[in-house]
Symmetry: C2
Subunit: 234 residues, 2 copies
């Protein structure tokens, strides 16, 4: 990722090589098509960085018959749900790996924030797809994403925040609010990236991502330091 | 807003009375239908809290002929653009009014953050509509929203941050990153509100909004205090 031109997830310039797709181990013969469909959905959503992709294009890209979507996933929503499940399982595994390391809580959070920013580069369509599924009214999809992503993430934030509070590094912070405000602070630059380009005339390249990670880390880690409550906070 | 049951922008329970729609002064006779269409779009989007609303329903609600959408706004996108313009002009006017008050910069920011949270309650569909227009590929819509919202907001953040830095209240903060991280930290709880309800089993009511405003204010105002840089920030 040293080449800054390869980092622009803006869809405006020639696309860089696609970041590696997280494999699901050695798929059985029957699951190979499903895996190819997921990989194609990822590739095309990455390319479009947020716009919708017709199921026919995904099938053409995967060299799969359209009927295979129905066979493997029920329908397009099912395919996108499976894609989301794959991605969030990667994110949660990252957090679990980080948690097993012997690091102070502020260092754990700093590394996590860096990874969150990087994941919006790896999966620039993640938030749009997530919000689409959350707003879809399909309770089952919401439940599944709650179990596989929201609950484990909030649980991890709660444990890191408690650890830091015990160590005297952090003040008391509500882990639910922390979940929303930290992920929101990280994602909005990506979901509103057109403003970055058109209003502020900046490109989301390697240099900008480094500066943004620094900004986010300092805002959050300073923001939860103990004994610095402000007069204005209720 | 003392009644907490009236605050749930979740679409799950009986809807409270619609918050007042910002009027555009005394419309000319010819503009009355346009205004009614905008008000109906607002009412129906508020009711659905994020889901799409067909143009036929907006017209039925406004007791307007479908042809009036074409006459007044060109098409549905034009209607939604006009709705967005109306809302962001209210938000920017709020900031300008706040700016004219003789308040220290941290107090200005604290009041602004409170208003941002309240605006996601008044306009629960705002972010979905904004992001939809930003991702639509219509450069003209992006340009207009840049001029009417992103640029004035960033300019105001830059001026308040500079004022606070001069007064020694704030450290140096990038106003562009501040724009994205602060608005993102405020909005994500609303755009992912299904997680609040289904995963974390909380309702977005008056009491929760007060706690969230406190959390956000403390995170941001502490986060930009000077002389508290952390070892982990690059």
């Amino acid at each position: 990722m040293a080449d800054s031109s390869a980092m622009s997830p803006t869809g405006k310039r020639a696309r860089p090589a696609l970041p590696p797709w997280p494999a699901s181990g050695a798929p059985r013969q029957a699951a190979a098509t499903a895996d190819r469909l997921l990989e194609s959905a990822h590739a095309l959503l990455y390319e479009r960085a947020g716009s919708d992709v017709p199921v026919a294009e995904i099938c053409a890209h995967a060299a799969a018959n359209v009927a295979m979507v129905k066979y493997c996933f029920g329908n397009k929503d099912g395919l996108f749900d499976a894609l989301l499940e794959r991605i969030v399982s990667v994110l949660v595994a990252d957090v679990e790996r980080l948690d097993r390391q012997d690091l102070p809580p502020d260092e754990k959070l700093a590394r996590h924030l860096r990874a969150v920013v990087r994941n919006y580069v790896r999966f620039p369509y993640l938030n749009r797809l997530l919000n689409q599924r959350l707003l879809s009214g399909h309770d089952e999809a919401v439940e599944r994403l709650s179990r596989s992503f929201a609950l484990p993430m909030r649980r991890w934030y709660a444990s890191v925040l408690a650890e830091g509070q015990e160590a005297g590094t952090f003040r008391e912070v509500d882990p639910t609010f922390f979940f929303f405000s930290v992920l929101g602070a990280a994602e909005y630059m990506f979901s509103a990236r057109r403003w970055m380009e058109r209003a502020f005339e900046e490109q989301i390249d390697e240099e900008l991502l480094e500066r943004f990670t620094g900004h986010l880390t300092q805002l959050v880690l300073t923001g939860i330091q103990p004994g610095t409550s402000t007069a204005s906070a209720p």
